[in-house]
């Protein structure tokens, strides 16, 4: 390609040495797909346990409340890499998953442990998002529903949660953005996401900086517009509420 010449005289350590791109570009494309898959699937998997944790946290039963609190505390107070390693080597060291490749590039024996670890971690954060969302619904809503004879669970399901979920959608989308970044840690365990692609290219081509610069640019180009988009949606939702 005409622009390959531009990089000819650059040192392998140069910030601007992107000579690997024509040959290794496909690594990055696959990395992007893998990263997005990891982030979206893990947050979606986290939603149900997070909802459960949030409601446990709001329970009057001290044991139930304490269990949920402990889970959230543990996952929020230890590094993701440590959690990932323990789950990957501990939990999935005992259970073996067949090495089946789906979608052409996702080896499920690595993907499943990674996604489970991310989802367990994410559920602790999403639980706090849900808890905030539930508490933000006016107590009068609960009282009105209970006064009509609905029990606590029906009140939660039909009156409180629908309003809470609308409140937390932007925060949930932000959690996916966080996961896009955090999932880079999965490269440590050989998951072929974006960061892993950059590492592979760097070690294959001996170009030590450029691949990481490309990865950074890609992460930015995904997350920055996404977060701006969420902000815009949030503004519109708030305007809708005021009417």
């Amino acid at each position: 390609m005409w622009w390959s010449n531009l990089f000819k005289n650059l040192s392998p350590a140069s910030f601007f040495n992107f000579s690997f791109l024509p040959k290794y570009g496909s690594y990055f494309w696959k990395g992007i797909a893998y990263t997005l898959l990891l982030a979206v699937v893990s947050v979606l998997l986290a939603i149900i346990p997070a909802l459960l944790l949030a409601m446990m946290r709001l329970s009057k039963n001290k044991v139930v409340k304490g269990l949920s609190g402990a889970y959230i505390a543990v996952f929020r107070s230890t590094p993701l890499l440590v959690q990932l390693s323990i789950i990957y080597f501990g939990l999935f060291g005992a259970v073996s998953i067949p090495r089946i490749t789906v979608l052409g590039f996702v080896d499920i024996s690595r993907f499943i442990p990674g996604v489970v670890a991310l989802a367990l971690n994410s559920s602790a954060y999403v639980a706090e998002i849900f808890r905030g969302g539930i508490l933000a619904v006016d107590i009068g809503q609960t009282e009105a529903s209970r006064s009509l004879g609905l029990n606590a669970w029906s009140t939660m399901r039909l009156v409180v949660l629908p309003q809470a979920i609308k409140n937390v959608l932007p925060a949930l989308a932000n959690e996916i953005i966080t996961m896009v970044k955090e999932s880079s840690i999965c490269s440590m365990l050989g998951m072929v996401e974006l960061m892993f692609a950059a590492k592979t290219v760097a070690s294959t081509t001996y170009i030590s900086l450029g691949p990481y610069v490309v990865a950074a640019v890609i992460y930015f180009c995904i997350n920055y517009p996404a977060s701006k988009g969420i902000e815009a949606i949030e503004r519109r939702m708030r305007r809708g509420d005021k009417q």
Binding site: D138, G140, Q141, E143, A144, S145, R146, S147, L148, G149, L150, N151, S154, L158, V159, P162, Q163, K166, D241, Q243
Partner: protein, 248 residues
């Protein structure tokens, strides 16, 4: 006492907060007969809202008994949800469900509790909305309505359960002055139709005109209970005299 006419009997109810630091209710007893309209008046913090909220156990009394149709609601073995169906409640801030249309607000409880089919609940909702002249709002969301409309729909939502008693917790306090009357008119109609009502209110004119009996509360106690004429024109308790001199 005419016991078979009695719908609610409150015996010696005490409600404490913060482990007894605050006594919101300090030994209250009262009865409400079927078809009777009871107004509860008193200054802010007198315990009148707490009293009302104890009637359907939105506040659980620290001690005492609340008999509804002969069943003690304060008994932990009683399924309060079954009894709340028979007690409609209207709140100061309406508390309509904002994510549901007017009709969905009205139909939710009767349908979910399987008291009515969807078609029956809708027919009942339409009939009630027609009665208050808001049938054309059936498919609108509450945030498109005025305060007075919201409160009238909140009343209709409670009526859709066909309750035996309606509890009103300062139903006009959050309304703009020009909307107070449309809500009071509806309540007046209900009273005329024979509905049993307990109304916590600051509207002394309404209490005097509509109530069969007015209760004055102060400091978590019922200090006077009488017909509106006697209570307003010949108050006995010095604190009631003081209260009336300020509000009338």
């Amino acid at each position: 006492m005419a016991t078979n006419n009695e719908l609610i009997r409150v015996v010696d109810v005490v409600k404490e907060y913060n482990k007894g630091e605050v006594k919101a209710l300090n030994g209250c007893s009262l009865t409400v007969n079927r078809g009777e309209v009871v107004a509860i008046v008193g200054s802010s913090g007198s315990g009148k809202s707490t009293m009302l909220r104890c009637l359907n156990m939105l506040e659980v009394p620290t001690s005492g008994h609340i008999y509804f149709d002969g069943v003690d609601l304060a008994d932990k073995n009683v399924d309060i949800n079954l009894h709340r169906r028979k007690m409609g409640m209207v709140f100061q801030h309406f508390n309509l469900f904002p994510h549901k249309t007017v009709m969905q607000n009205i139909m939710l409880a009767p349908v979910h509790l399987k008291l009515k089919t969807k078609a029956e609940a809708r027919a009942k909702g339409e009939e009630l909305l027609k009665r208050i002249g808001l049938l054309e709002k059936a498919n609108e969301y509450p945030n498109m309505l005025s305060g007075g409309q919201k409160q009238r729909i909140a009343i209709v939502r409670a009526l859709a359960m066909e309750p035996e008693v309606m509890l009103f917790d300062e139903p006009t306090s959050a309304l703009d002055p020009e909307m107070v009357n449309e809500v009071l008119d509806l309540m007046r109609d209900l009273a005329k139709a024979g509905m049993t009502m307990v109304v916590v209110t600051h509207e002394m004119g309404f209490a005097r005109e509509v109530a069969d009996r007015v209760i004055f509360m102060d400091g978590g106690q019922i200090l006077e209970s009488n017909t509106p004429e006697k209570l307003f024109d010949h108050p006995q308790n010095p604190r009631l005299k003081d209260f009336l001199s300020k509000v009338l």
